[in-house]
């Protein structure tokens, strides 16, 4: 049956993600000596809870409700499940029994095991409850969330990243503007371009034109050329400039995209 399949798959997914999130979070306290998997905001927030189990738990709980609403509405867990709920609840579970954070929250083995259990519980709960939600609620969620999300991705995010690039310095502003415009044209969204612009601009600011920044520039150009080609941007451009497409270009497209 449908719900049984979801249940079993949720157990597996929850166990994998929870285990890895737990280890990754604990390793963050030992970075950069140890390569970790997590996020700076997770590190900051977990430090802010100062080893108090109740703080860790209630912080996770606030985001858990948000994630629940989002899962019910759109089937999306939000990134908070791995960034906030699992690490903080795993920390809370360990701290109830032992208050010493060096032996608990900073220990990848213990955090991994606690994360595993919490991952299974959280993922299964979210998936099972949301697949049993009435149709009218899902319709409402789609009508409300999809337009909001579209505005966010297509207008708010590009503008915010763009302004951040400009504020971050002359070089990242320039690269961000060029790559952002190109990305908007080629990829349909300017954000990736602006992000790459910040990355390269700040990289050059701090390191200069060294081998690593030159490799980055080449990789970025390659990324634009390839995604432009695969999305047929070259042919579209020729068409809108009222030029004819050369045969060899059509053949090349026919080779990689036989439709």
């Amino acid at each position: 049956m449908h719900i049984t399949v979801i249940f079993i798959q949720s157990l597996i997914v929850g166990a994998l993600v929870g285990f890895a999130a737990g280890i990754g979070a604990a390793r963050m306290f030992n970075a950069p000596k140890v390569q970790a998997l997590g996020a700076f905001r997770t590190l900051g927030e977990m430090n802010a809870a100062e080893g108090d189990p109740v703080s860790h738990f209630s912080f996770g709980l606030g985001f858990f409700f948000n994630a629940w609403a989002s899962t019910v509405g759109a089937g999306a867990f939000t990134q908070d499940i791995t960034h906030r709920v699992i690490p903080n609840w795993a920390a809370a579970a360990l701290l109830i029994r032992n208050k010493k954070i060096a032996e608990t929250v900073h220990n990848p083995k213990k955090m991994g095991i606690a994360g595993l259990v919490i991952g299974i519980l959280v993922v299964t709960f979210l998936n099972i409850t949301s697949s049993a939600i009435p149709e009218s609620l899902q319709v409402t969620a789609v009508k409300v969330l999809v337009p909001a999300a579209n505005t966010l991705i297509n207008i708010v995010m590009p503008v915010l990243f763009w302004l951040a690039a400009i504020d971050a310095g002359h070089r990242s502003g320039l690269f961000g503007t060029v790559f952002g415009g190109l990305a908007g044209l080629i990829m349909g969204n300017a954000v990736p371009g602006v992000v790459l612009g910040i990355l390269l601009g700040k990289g050059v600011d701090e390191l200069g034109w060294r081998r690593i920044t030159k490799i980055m520039l080449v990789a970025i150009i390659l990324l634009f050329v390839l995604s432009g080609f695969f999305r047929g941007f070259d042919i579209e451009t020729l068409k809108s400039l009222h030029l004819s497409t050369p045969d060899w270009l059509n053949h090349l497209h026919g080779l990689v995209n036989p439709e």
Binding site: V17, V34, L223
Partner: protein, 221 residues
């Protein structure tokens, strides 16, 4: 003595060693990729923000996968570089968005559906992708650590990313207002209650809109 023991632990044990990193990323990727497969098949379980999952949804419901593919892939690229340099691989950009949204979108856009349709293959695909990503970081780290002190504007991007999150609450309420009057009222009240409780606005705005939508349903035009 205590410190010596800890250093030994750092170097040797699975829990601290750099060689274990690809395995940890592999496990995470397997779970996240399989989660996206569940979303593809049953409409639940994607490990990402509504806004980002909506890009994948746009492709699944007949539109273009381009936005999701480009967005996910470029985030993955940027995060791999950054992760190996700063010592923390950003889970959200690399795995949740890159592996969870970008790579599925690329595969689907060229007509490869099997890794999404079959759960075991999704697990395997995710595992392999994660081990590769973790391996690349392990290598980059080996050759660059200590040689570079740049964060490549990670702070700038993180600042902008956090700013973006703040827009979602008001945007949801504005969108609810255009859906119908009761849903708009519900959403406003929900958001206000959440704000009063010092919780993030979007949760309250969504719950309020849905409660109102349950009693006063709207059609999906």
């Amino acid at each position: 003595m205590q410190n010596d023991l800890k250093d030994l632990e750092h170097a040797k044990s699975f829990w601290f060693a750099d060689w274990a990193f690809p395995i940890i990323v592999g496990l995470m990727s397997a779970g996240v990729f399989a989660g996206t497969s569940m979303y593809y098949n049953y409409g639940v379980g994607a490990f990402n923000e509504v806004a980002i999952v909506a890009m994948l949804k746009a492709g699944m419901s007949g539109g273009s996968y381009g936005a999701a593919a480009a967005f996910g892939a470029s985030f993955l690229f940027a995060r791999i570089l950054e992760g190996s340099l700063v010592g923390i691989l950003d889970l959200g950009g690399s795995i949740l968005t890159g592996v969870g949204i970008g790579i599925p979108a690329i595969l689907l856009s060229v007509g490869i559906k099997l890794p999404m349709e079959s759960f075991p293959i999704a697990l395997l695909t995710g595992l392999v992708l994660g081990v590769i990503i973790g391996g690349v970081i392990y290598l980059v780290r080996k050759f660059t650590i200590g040689q570079s002190s740049s964060t490549f504007g990670a702070d700038v991007m993180m600042g902008a990313g956090n700013q973006t999150g703040r827009f979602l609450g008001p945007l949801i309420i504005l969108s609810a207002i255009t859906a119908s009057i009761p849903i708009g009222i519900g959403s406003t009240i929900g958001a206000a209650i959440f704000y009063a409780w010092k919780k993030p606005l979007p949760g309250g705005a969504i719950i309020g809109a849905m409660i109102a939508g349950f009693f006063f349903p709207v059609g999906l035009k």
